[in-house]
């Protein structure tokens, strides 16, 4: 007998159940698994991560979690929580969440105890409904009533509707960047790229640590000049970096993202079409460049400024992120979201961005070579493996491009959700 093409997927499912059984035996308490019920072959995405982590937080705030584990494999992103509660009581609470939260239809909360998942039916509840047409979901799946495109669209729309604030969208954007695979030398759920000191869990911890601080941008008064606004942002940014380093035990995961998102969130408050306010807000950065001593560069950024006249991310913000930001935003908006389209969007950014992490490794010529390779890989999924290998060989990990990728997703969905 030939092994089935889906062999590893099916094997992973059996292994997951064995693992849940082992946890149940060890703790003698129900095991709750959180999985996004996303269709299609690409189960790892910001969509699934956002709904899973949002529900993890809800559950952790109201239930007694005694063990927590996040798994990334063929099945996608699975969060396992062992909960100190009676299994049927827990299942009822979970059904309540699935039914009452807007994004509840996008997640499966399965309660495992004594050899099986408790079923909705046993507790007197109806089977789950289809996201597209309100028929019983399993009937639509079996008859393939809807195309995969239709279902994915309905799924994404459901999640977009459940974004309640700008910070929800920042969260989604940072998670999308985190989950994207392949990512060409950067950390993904399936690989640590060129990095030895961090993995996907480092990034997820970092996002959890910095996220709440983005709410504070709302409290910075607009009744002051931009220099004062900027210095308050800088203080907020420093507190966020401290929180990040504490969560990651000293690894820089999101320094660039913190800077970009703080600047853009604030600029959006100053004016919804934020480009000019971003440039205005960034003016104090010019003083950074003036104060630099060409003979004694204080940082990698300064060294690159003197050697290549590259102003890095600061220079980029001083130009309002243009023209790259408009280019990439219209590129991303030109097609419905999909895994491949996200990868192409990142490659598009990589092919244009003066990424300081690349310049640091191989200078200006290295950057041009990297950009040309990224350009060639765009729209050619068959060449992604080779480009990944090229990045690993050259020790490239384009963190700056990844930050801009997250920013592009944030800007796109905050416009779509009309939360500007």
């Amino acid at each position: 007998m030939n092994p089935h093409p889906n062999h590893t997927f099916l094997q992973a499912k059996e292994d997951l159940v064995k693992h849940k059984q082992a946890l149940f035996t060890q703790y003698e308490k129900p095991v709750l698994s959180l999985q996004a019920n996303m269709v299609g072959e690409h189960k790892l995405s910001g969509w699934s991560a956002w709904v899973i982590i949002t529900f993890e937080k809800l559950i952790q705030s109201s239930m007694k979690v005694v063990y927590k584990e996040r798994i990334f494999n063929e099945l996608g992103f699975i969060s396992l929580l062992v909960i100190d509660d009676d299994p049927s009581h827990l299942k009822q609470a979970c059904i309540q969440l699935e039914e009452t939260k807007t994004s509840g239809r996008c997640i499966d909360l399965d309660v495992y105890a004594k050899g099986r998942n408790l079923s909705r039916y046993d507790l007197g509840f109806d089977e789950r409904k289809c996201l597209v047409c309100d028929e019983m979901a399993r009937v639509c799946i079996r008859t393939q009533k809807h195309t995969q495109k239709e279902v994915i669209h309905a799924y994404q729309q459901c999640l977009i509707t459940s974004f309640q604030s700008k910070v929800d969208i920042v969260h989604f954007a940072l998670l999308s960047e985190c989950m994207l695979t392949p990512k060409f030398g950067l950390v993904t759920p399936r690989s640590s790229g060129i990095h030895q000191d961090m993995n996907i869990h480092t990034f997820l911890k970092s996002i959890d640590a910095i996220l709440p601080y983005f709410n504070e941008v709302e409290f910075i008064s607009l009744d002051q000049n931009t220099h004062e606004i900027f210095s308050q942002l800088r203080l907020l940014g420093q507190r966020m970096e401290n929180a990040m380093f504490e969560a990651t035990q000293g690894v820089n995961t999101h320094k660039g993202a913190i800077f970009l998102f703080l600047m853009v969130l604030m600029a959006q408050r100053m004016s919804p079409s934020f480009t000019s306010s971003l440039i205005e807000l960034a003016q104090p950065l010019l003083e950074d460049f003036k104060q630099m001593d060409p003979h004694h560069p204080q940082s990698e950024g300064e060294r690159q400024f003197h050697q290549y006249q590259s102003q890095g991310v600061r220079g980029w913000v001083l130009k309002g992120g243009e023209p790259l930001l408009s280019n990439t935003l219209s590129f991303y908006a030109s097609q419905p979201d999909s895994h491949d389209h996200q990868v192409n969007t990142l490659l598009n950014i990589m092919s244009q961005c003066e990424d300081s992490t690349i310049i640091k490794k191989r200078g200006w010529e290295g950057l041009l070579d990297f950009q040309a390779h990224a350009q060639a890989a765009m729209n050619h999924p068959e060449s992604w493996f080779d480009f990944e290998q090229y990045c690993l060989d050259h020790h490239f990990s384009a963190g700056g491009s990844a930050d801009i990728f997250a920013l592009v997703l944030y800007l796109h969905y905050s416009k779509e959700r009309n939360l500007l």
């Binding site: 007998m1 089935h4 997951l16 998942n117 079996r142």
Partner: protein
């Protein structure tokens, strides 16, 4: 080929099916199916299970299946691996 021991494949997770094969003293193929979509698709699912068993030369077994919304290719794969585990 007769089924001589008890083997299992699959899970009770969403979109999967748990297949248990047992010896049948009656010497026939007997399929017991529980499914969340029994009313709509019970016949169809049983037919898939039966043809998979027959395709692998099974002439006698008790096949107990608990379906959680598995698609055809999953049903076939789970029945096949329950048969494989006989060896």
């Amino acid at each position: 080929m007769n089924i001589t021991q008890t083997t299992q494949a699959g899970t009770l997770e969403s979109n999967d099916i748990l297949v248990t094969l047992k010896p049948n003293p009656e010497g026939t193929i007997e399929i017991h199916l529980q499914s969340v979509v029994l009313k709509q698709f019970g016949k169809q699912i049983k037919a898939i299970i039966l043809s998979t068993l027959q395709n692998h030369g099974i002439t006698s077994c008790l096949c107990e299946c608990e379906d959680k919304g598995a698609l055809d290719h999953v049903i076939i794969a789970r029945v096949e691996s329950a048969i494989q585990r006989q060896l």
